[in-house]
Symmetry: C2
Subunit: 505 residues, 2 copies
């Protein structure tokens, strides 16, 4: 480190000290008085065409508003169309009933609160559960199809079923506290194509309603009236700045910021080093920043969906996952989002999965990397650099109880309990630098139950709405069930669109 | 849970759904065109009179600017004057040298980076270390006094020394990686009165420079020019709204938001339930929100200083701290900010300190509550509800190595290693609902090395600066040494003031 001057207040020192205020600086938002004129207009302008934006557009149009959807990418659908397409619904949906499962809104609510951690937004979760049946009807009414097929698997990648337990409902301690029900609803498809099917249905519905979806339009700034009301959007199209008036409101539904490395490093450094930054290329945080540009509040910017997809095959969950001290810290059969969160956020991004010959991956697997191989646990622990005896103590304790079909420490399900005693023993690296973590951001603009954006003073910003991962919705870390993000996006997107359309211009 | 209607789009439904957009809404910032006129003016307006604000004011005044400090409270000094007054400095300060300690800027930098975690702002830390000697001179030049007294204790509450190891420098693994040095510099005082001494010196220096500090002035909004440049501040004084022009710049140094429960619940729910919300009453997040109102970016809003003051007495650190699974997770002799962070953020806010008769607190202690008392470890573990055998395994492993003066799992210092074998055994509750956690917020506005506030587009906002806990500075969780917050506040406060004063009006 070079030794520098002791003072920094000279002219040259100012520049050396990183002073940059003199370069040209765009404003964070535009005042309508500085906008030359409107190039286009609609009652409701929706920024983004993923699940949140299209749901908003459909409801705004049904409320008789003139709607425009502006999409940065060359095709619509957003990250939702890349997703598994799972929507978390319950309380006794027609599909749950048809497949013989009982559920109530209260059970659904209690699971989401129990598993949700301190950031779980209870008011949104309550409304979401209370109105889940109506939301199911809405999706079906917009052409989303579900098959009467249930799967008992923990992951649907290879199963064209439409209903499954998509979270930790059957895991300890939730199974003892709340009656489990399968709530992951997904259009039947293999290879994670459910999201494409879901969005194809919603986009077709929007098209039938005559909603224009304009692609390759980069929304850059919000335009405000002098009283703070949102007047429209400044966009860039074919390199030209244009201004689109929104007579009633703007719905920001432009996704999260997983593909903006500068935002990721600053706001969610735990997610930054992960190998799988999941989401469509437009997830650049533009909607979040446009909202912040008019004083909107943001919440949970450090949070994300952090999936560590150990399974399938489920057989490997008979292994034991340990932290940097060689201790178990989470039941191995937990939802893979909960496992990823635990290691990424609570264990410093380090961990290992210990297996024996009876529960190994069938072959090399790109999701995990073998870190050590040994004929006994002591040698394995030594190879991993654990304190002498630490891994042995963990495995001895685990094996003694697993033989009796019990896991008193963490309550792993009996189906995955068997002593690890058949050499060779292997350790797979669950560390963030080696394992495959699929990550997406959760942080975004604070919104009311109606999808209105809230500013830092706790007031709503007239004419501004947000949905999907541009908003801070139901998904909060630890993520505890697939389908909460799409569920939140569609459900609160609908509300944002309807409320925007109803606003007096 | 009451069953509600399936749709929500009727008129009555809108109100029931929480639609609030129709109520009157102030704007997040004011446009100068909407300000009736200026009631007062200065070159540089400083919002807040703690360590950050006063340091900024002093440097702005020395750069010949006309300066005004506006303080919400009836007396100046901010939370800094309530603090211990420790300033983390090193690299071979005169006090370090006089007391026989060697240190380099590089060692200081390496410790702060090694201990800092993924959120540590490396660029700010580097500059802070490189210029630490100059900062020491600056403080002394402004009347701050240090005594040539070193203390070997981990905490200075009862010692009128001026230099000590204020972090985890002597703890594993840092002691093996970086040569430890004592870097906590504090005006000699007992009972946490160092902060009052520090601020008395800085306030006296400001007074000698003729800087007016106006108290009972509530700063409410920033005023911007149409190009986004900051023009001044809208304040409330005796109930009357007034507007103060800032010809060159505004420095926001109004503290954090520990006393704003709504912000705390939303942004830092881990800190919300803690019993000790530390800071002066003005820590309401006003500076942060004023900055966000003009599009400033915020960072690390979930982070905080989370002190779990187990010591003094240091003797209790011979005990063993365990998590909800009965496992050790952090060396008990770590800095108390690191211990608090570990239990609050990584262990779900739950933990216990296990002691025996040889290392108990001398009497009842308000900081911790006894959760269980037993004649042997098995009975203690049962009383705490641990899995059978789990606590025994932890203590057996610990004792076996402690007898040899070693802690292979976590590297606790030999001075605190002794087997726990003298009944009765006790467990003190370290859970957030029972133990005393002293907490303060770290999140704030993103700033450059020069103290300029950065907006969400990565551009600086002309004329806007921030310092102290209104900014996202060097303090990031886990907090790893006392004195980093005051150090950051004074060091970057100086820069903000100097740079604001040098800005062309």
């Amino acid at each position: 480190m070079k030794q520098t001057r002791r003072g920094f207040l000279t002219g040259a020192g100012l520049a050396a000290a990183g002073v940059t205020a003199l370069r040209s600086t765009p404003t964070a938002a535009l005042d309508r008085r500085d906008v030359p004129g409107w190039d286009d207009e609609a009652d409701v302008v929706v920024v983004g065409s993923g699940a949140g934006g299209i749901s908003a557009a459909i409801e705004a149009r049904r409320a008789t508003a003139d709607v425009q959807v502006l999409e940065l990418f060359h095709i619509p659908g957003g990250s939702s169309s890349l997703s598994g397409g799972v929507c978390y619904m319950g309380g006794g949906t027609p599909l749950q009933k048809a497949l013989g499962f009982e559920d109530t809104p209260e059970d659904m609510y209690r699971y989401l609160i129990e598993a949700g951690g301190p950031y779980a937004p209870a008011d949104k979760i309550r409304l979401y559960c209370e109105e889940s049946l109506g939301h199911y009807d809405w999706l079906v009414g917009n052409g989303v199809e579900y098959a009467r097929v249930y799967s008992d698997e923990k992951e649907l990648a290879h199963h064209a079923a439409s209903l499954y337990h998509s979270g930790s409902e059957r895991n300890y301690p939730y199974r003892d506290r709340v009656r489990p029900a399968p709530r992951g609803h997904v259009p039947p498809a293999t290879n994670m194509m459910g999201g494409q099917r879901l969005m194809a249905s919603l986009l077709a519905s929007a098209e039938r309603l005559g909603i224009p979806v304009r692609t390759r339009v980069a929304c850059e700034r919000l335009v405000t009236e002098s009283d703070g009301t949102i007047a429209g959007v400044a966009v860039r199209e074919n390199g030209v700045r244009r201004h689109v008036r929104a007579r009633r409101g703007v719905v920001l539904a432009a996704g999260g910021f997983i593909h903006n490395p500068e935002m990721l490093k600053r706001h969610a450094p735990e997610l930054y080093p992960c190998s799988g930054h999941w989401g469509r290329a437009g997830d650049l945080g533009m909607g979040i920043r446009m909202g912040m540009g008019v004083g909107a509040n943001v919440l949970r910017m450090h949070h994300g969906f952090a999936v560590l997809p150990l399974y399938p095959p489920e057989n490997v969950l008979k292994g034991v996952a340990v932290n940097r001290l060689g201790q178990r810290c989470i039941a191995e059969d937990a939802y893979y989002g909960a496992i990823g969160h635990e290691f990424l956020y609570n264990q410093g991004g380090r961990g290992w999965l210990i297996v024996d010959a009876s529960c190994d991956y069938p072959g090399p697997d790109a999701r995990v990397v073998m870190a050590a191989l040994a004929g006994d646990i002591t040698a394995l622990g030594r190879a991993l650099g654990f304190a002498p005896g630490a891994l042995e103590a963990t495995i001895d304790y685990y094996n003694a109880h697993a033989r009796e079909g019990r896991d008193p420490l963490l309550g792993k399900s009996a189906a995955f309990l068997a002593p690890l005693e058949r050499p060779p023993f292997k350790a797979y690296d669950l560390g963030v630098e080696k394992a495959f973590y699929s990550v997406h951001t959760f942080g975004g603009l604070e919104t009311t139950l109606a999808g209105e954006v809230v500013n830092v003073w706790g007031d709503t910003i007239p004419g501004l709405y947000a949905a999907g991962r541009t908003s801070a919705g139901i998904p909060a870390a630890p993520y505890h069930a697939s389908g909460l993000s799409i569920g939140d996006s569609t459900f609160f997107g609908r509300r944002a669109g309807a409320v925007a359309a109803a606003r007096k211009a």
